[in-house]
């Protein structure tokens, strides 16, 4: 348990650094995301070893749902937004989600077959 807390501390530090960079440079990208990209770079360059953060990271990621329950409970203060016209917002989200899924799915599938075909041609030539 101790190791998990220390590792979460490391991740928290990266989050704080990310937020600091965001404020320093006035970029509209979430500080947490800057922290994530920073950690990815540190892992790729081998400066940070996977074991140094994996216990803490897995702990947070496997219970991600628990972490945003307080946020979704907040919807109780916005019930009036969902009465009447606001209910359409749910419909908008569902339709848009289906559109994204189809486009992302087909683009992924298309790009993959195209690349495989090209590789095949290169090999054949």
């Amino acid at each position: 348990m101790g190791i998990v807390i220390i590792q979460i501390g490391v991740l928290y530090t990266l989050y704080v650094v990310g937020s600091f960079i965001q404020q320093l440079l006035h970029i509209p990208i979430p500080g947490s995301m800057i922290g994530m990209l920073l950690l990815f770079l540190l892992l790729m360059t081998g400066i940070v070893k996977e074991e140094w953060i994996s216990c803490g990271a897995n702990m947070l990621l496997s219970h991600l749902t628990l972490l945003f329950i307080p946020a979704t409970v907040g919807v109780m203060d916005y019930v009036e937004l969902f009465s009447g016209k606001g209910i359409w917002s749910i419909f908008v989200v569902i339709v848009s989600t289906m559109i994204v899924m189809l486009f992302a799915g087909f683009i992924g599938q298309w790009a993959q077959t195209r690349e495989q075909k090209r590789m095949h041609e290169v090999k054949g030539a």
Partner: protein, 223 residues
Amino acid sequence: MIGASMLLWTIVVYMAMRKLYARFYFPLLVPIATSTVVIIITLSLFHLSYEQYMVGGKWLVHLLGPAVVALALPLYQHRYTLKKFLWPLLCSTFFGTIIGIGSGLLLARLFHLPEQVVRSIIPKSVTSPVAMDIATLIGGIPTLAAVYVMVAGIFGAMFGPTIFQRLRLNTALGIGSGLGAASHGIGTAKALEMGKKEAAISSVAMTLSAIFASLLCPLLLLL
């Protein structure tokens, strides 16, 4: 005192709802949806406000930032998948993100939804903690954003597999990209039911979408 009990209650409800979902595995029963409903019901039964709940709840919110940072780990672990399918993945998530933001914005405006609602809908396709940060940055309501993210996740996971089957979208890359780009974590859980490869691609797609959305959402509002 109230803080500690709210925190404890949240954890207890979450554990119970996780068990329930593991038992029935039906998308409408995803723990985030059921836990939220149960907690809201108990709060109203005891006439407690959201503010009182957050005395304890805020401790969990503090962990969201480091949790987003932690997403670097699966991305790193799947780096070979990422490298192998770099272009298909970059294409599908980049255009998926643009289409997600664009269609959400367009439809929301079409229905004349209030401005704050529109701005909370925009980041709906990315994982909750990132969506909440984006909503804050672009003038939406983080809480509402989290709710829309939940809706996108649940419905994507519910209808995705059927739609894929009907339209002969059947490669791991197609399925993984679709679920990850549209329905983030909940979609990735669904992808895991369909195969390990689908899940790996879905989790990479979800992370790439979060990166693209963080870059694109703020830009969009400059227009």
